[in-house]
């Protein structure tokens, strides 16, 4: 009997497809000098390597949250395993305490008491209106007022210690193979970017260590209205952000590339047709189109409840649909860029030389045009990523984004809207969403800048 049954949601499948494609591309790039060289330049940048470590942590969390399963919940009469209806991810499993330890309502970060007064029945009879103790947060403390500061300090030190230890262990493992040895690595000019990555890595590992020691005992970022841990929500939102940022590009790429280079290469009526198509599309206000499409989707879903096995599946479909519709509205700029570049390329002499050999159009497109516009595609994909993550937040904020049941930074901000009007103010939901999003977008932007510099031939000539 299997203790669990793997579940593959639609977005999961696409994420694995994306991983496969990236892996394939990496393998291909390793064997081609012209592709390897710009990545080498990226690897020589301290900023890029530092940002990459941050992104890697996000991606790891996102991937853990992508491995979905149903847990076994017992056996039926025939001895077959029965599985729970609820779909969980590996991240949920790891963060079980966070997921399950929900309070009654709001509590501030590191609080031991609720954020609102309640009428408490005293054991000896009688009632008091006071802040009740939290069910989980700081529950292990006998005297919260006296012990809390010491306990937090202890756990913080322990967390830092774990992070440091893990870091040293990792470093030793990685450097074991290198011939030059520890000392040289430390002082060498060449390994500067690696050292930057190591420092950022230390910071990340300490954060992981702190989560291990603190998050189980306290609600480090507080709880929301229904008492759910905000730190857990923020972690779960990572996957949503990454999915929007990457899958949108994945779905728009084929159309943008194909139409863009076709318009530039064939010109004439093909060009006119494609130009009209994307000019028209980009003239429609994007938010309007998204709102219309999402509302239609919502209605379709509520009319066809039976076709979805679970809430999670339904929310996932909506997420995928949002990616599609965002893709439809965002492919035009890439298409326009590619058309322009292709117009330039087709005038180049090697394309004409191919023509003089009687090379077919399709071969010319695949052999001479596509590889020479790929740097633009890559630059746009990386630059677009952070914009899409932010777009998700904005769309969810105005309620046309992801499903309200999906954890996302946009939804967190949306609910924080009401909390900010409350007295006393509940600020931690907004801050948590902001912090998580800010760090990801900042890292992505820093990385994107370096990638652009490395791949843009014009910038390269100047330096």
């Amino acid at each position: 009997m299997m203790p669990f049954q793997p579940v593959m949601l639609a977005t999961d499948a696409l994420i694995f497809l994306l991983l496969g494609l990236s892996g394939g591309f990496a393998w291909y790039a390793r064997r081609h000098a012209h592709l390897r060289a710009p990545w080498r330049r990226v690897a020589r940048s301290r900023t890029a390597m530092g940002a990459l470590v941050v992104i890697a942590l996000y991606v790891t969390i996102g991937l853990l949250d992508t491995l979905h399963f149903r847990a076994a919940s017992g056996t039926d009469e025939q001895g077959n395993t029965r599985y729970a209806g609820e779909i969980l991810s590996v991240l949920d499993l790891i963060a079980t305490p966070l997921r399950e330890q929900s309070e009654k309502t709001y509590s501030a970060p590191f609080a031991t008491h609720l954020y609102a007064r309640e009428t408490i029945e005293l054991p000896q009879g009688g009632q008091v209106r006071d802040f009740p103790r939290l069910q989980w947060g700081g529950a292990h403390l006998a005297d919260p007022l006296a012990d809390r500061a010491g306990d937090i300090l202890l756990r913080t030190l322990l967390g830092i210690g774990i992070g440091l230890f893990a870091w040293l262990l990792l470093l030793a493992l990685l450097l074991r193979r290198s011939a030059q040895g520890w000392r040289q690595w430390w002082s060498d000019e060449e390994s500067g970017p690696q050292r930057s990555a190591a420092w950022v890595g230390l910071l990340m590992l300490i954060l992981v260590g702190l989560s291990l020691t603190l998050a189980g005992a306290y609600h480090v970022l507080g709880t929301d209205k229904v008492g759910e841990d905000v730190y857990y929500q923020s972690l779960k939102s990572i996957r949503t952000g990454l999915v929007i940022g990457t899958l949108t590009t994945l779905v728009m790429l084929p159309a943008a590339i194909l139409l863009g280079i076709m318009a530039g290469y064939f010109r004439g009526w093909v060009d006119d047709l494609i130009q009209y198509l994307y000019t028209t599309l980009s003239s429609v206000p994007g938010v309007l189109l998204i709102a219309a499409a999402v509302l239609m989707m919502q209605i379709y879903m509520s009319n066809n409840q039976e076709s979805f096995n679970s809430l999670t599946e339904r929310a996932d479909m909506r997420l995928l649909f949002l990616c599609l519709i965002l893709g439809v509205t965002s492919w035009t700029s890439l298409c326009r860029l590619l058309r322009g570049e292709t117009l330039k390329l087709r005038q180049l002499e090697y394309v004409q030389a191919a023509q003089a050999f009687g090379v077919g159009h399709f071969t010319t497109l695949m052999r001479h045009i596509l590889p020479n516009v790929m740097h633009i595609v890559l630059i746009v994909v990386v630059l677009d990523f952070s914009g899409l993550v932010l777009a998700e937040a904005v769309l969810s904020y105005i309620n046309i984004g992801v499903d309200p049941n999906t954890n996302s930074w946009g939804n967190m901000i949306n609910s924080a809207r009401l909390e900010l009007a409350r007295d006393p103010l509940v600020w931690w939901s907004l801050l948590a969403a902001f912090l998580f999003m800010f760090v990801l977008v900042l890292a992505a932007n820093l990385f994107a800048d370096v990638v652009r510099d490395a791949f843009d031939p014009r910038l390269r000539e100047r330096s």
Binding site: H32, A33, A353, F357, P371, N372
Partner: protein, 672 residues
Amino acid sequence: MSEGPAGVQETVLEVSGLCTELGPQDKPVRAVDGVDLHLHRGETFVLVGESGCGKSMIALSLMRLLPSTGRVVQGEVRLQGRSLLDLPEVEMRRERGGGIGMIFQEPMTSLNPVMSVGKQVAEAVELHDPAHAASPRARVLELFRQVGIPDPERRIDEYPHQLSGGMKQRVMIAMALAGRPGVLIADEPTTALDVTIQAQVLQLLRDLQAETGMGILLITHDLGVVAEMADRVGVMYAGQLVETAAVGSFFKQPRHPYSRKLFRSLPDAGKRELGLDIIKGMVPPLNQAFDLCRFRDRCEAAQAVCGERLPPWQGDPQDGYRCHLAVDRIELQASESARHAPAAADAGQPLMAASDLRVHFPIRKGVLRRTVGFVKAVDGLDLALYPGRTLALVGESGCGKTTVGKALLQLLRASGGRVDYDGANLTQLRGESLRRLRREFQIIFQDPASSMNPRMLVGDIVAEGLRAQGIAGDRRAEQARVLQLLDQVGLPASSVGRYPHEFSGGQRQRIAIARALAVKPRLVVCDEPTSALDVSVQAQVLNLLKTLQAELDLSYLFITHNISVVAYLADEVAVMYLGRIVERGPVERVLNAPAHPYTQALLASVPVPDPDDRREVLRLEGDMPSPANPPTGCHFHERCPRAEARCRREYPARFELEPQHEVSCWLYAQRD
């Protein structure tokens, strides 16, 4: 041309021991290594050398305009006694344009496209001419007149795109003159211009020098320009001056082996039966410290002593050379004779013939993109290409010669006329039947950098035609053929697995030639294949083309603006002007006895590498008219010094002066 009083010459610019480095401090590239030179008032000193030898770096070091990675590490620059390298930046800014003016190679990118040219010159006047700073317009007009811009009152308010290349270079010169500099640095000022325009600009520089007495430091790679302009010459090689001399003695007897080889690699009519001399190998990388002669590995005259120590400077600093050997001990091998099949007197049937070929590009305007006119790039052209012979198509940029090449190969479809090849009219062929014929005619492009896909391996590039035409058969046969082709053009077999950017310009042009030859064509269109290359590399490519022609019985259509290459390579010449051929004939007839006034002017504009041959014939004024709106009658009549009333009315008929020598000009009408 030194106008100074005899004996006492005022030195305006003095450079001593200049060293300039580029790149990181610990691994520098020493682009300029210990250059000494001085410039007198009213004198022209020409720095000549091939690309990458450090000529431009000297100019930028003098102006203190080095790129951010560059720095002057040693040496002194004195401009009329003031040490430029020690000036603070604020004062240096005053010297730029005030003390030293500079003009650059590319007038197209040196002007701001959104500012009127008058304003841009006025800016320079305001900065450097306090007397006219308040109302610069009058001074700008004066400058425009000085540099020979016609109708300056109108031109002053025009924008750069409204001016031709020659006019823009004149504006740049006006700007450089605004501060009345004592020294003018001209970095390849005519390289981007056509020969007739080049002749105008060079003449202008000479006139201005006579007028103002400024010293000119001219940088060029063209020995013809050297002969035409220089009082004294400095030859640069790998960051050093290897020879300095007065122009007369330099051309009579160059001393350094490198200078001599340069002369011997220049193509001209006298070397037709020989191969051109080539300089083997490449310029050594400059990121090393040299303890031997830099030219030693490429020098045929090298002896034991050259491998022992640095060569000394022999002779006077201003008239000497850097070599171990005495002049009479430098012995160079005689040129190898190239296998040149003399063209048969009777050429037989033409391989490809174009008649009344027209290529018109529509000009579209407005929202509905209606066609409002045509650019008549090629307008009624007849020519015939014979097997095993070379036809040179000569003309200035914009005359439509490249369009002819592409239209013959059906890379551009003709708007009218026919191209006959092997009994078929190519302009009517479509699809598969044309595709199959394509292997018979190939093209080699001008710029070896853009003619190869940077993402493909050399092996795949050369094999592209084989695969497209399905000639090669299996993979092994294909590989063998590629190796054979690379060997044929003199490249090592290891080139197969490398990318084009790993090769030098000349090597890339060889790859392009191998690619074209892969499908065993009978006709190759060579579209300025050597104009992006240095002289010594050009010689290699020309030798190769000549040898291949003899081996494979190829027929070439050689499109060029370089007359000396024509003299060396061509059997026949056709001269194009504004989409039509104005003169055609055997090479010796056309070059020695040009009949059409345009051909005469074109040939007279070409600078000849011989300072005694400063001919003053037929300088063409003005620019080529637009092919969208050609003049009525003879297209050339507006610029023609011998135009008559009839020329303005009717396009001239074709007259045969001698068998095979035809000219379209009314001057020869009476002979009929």
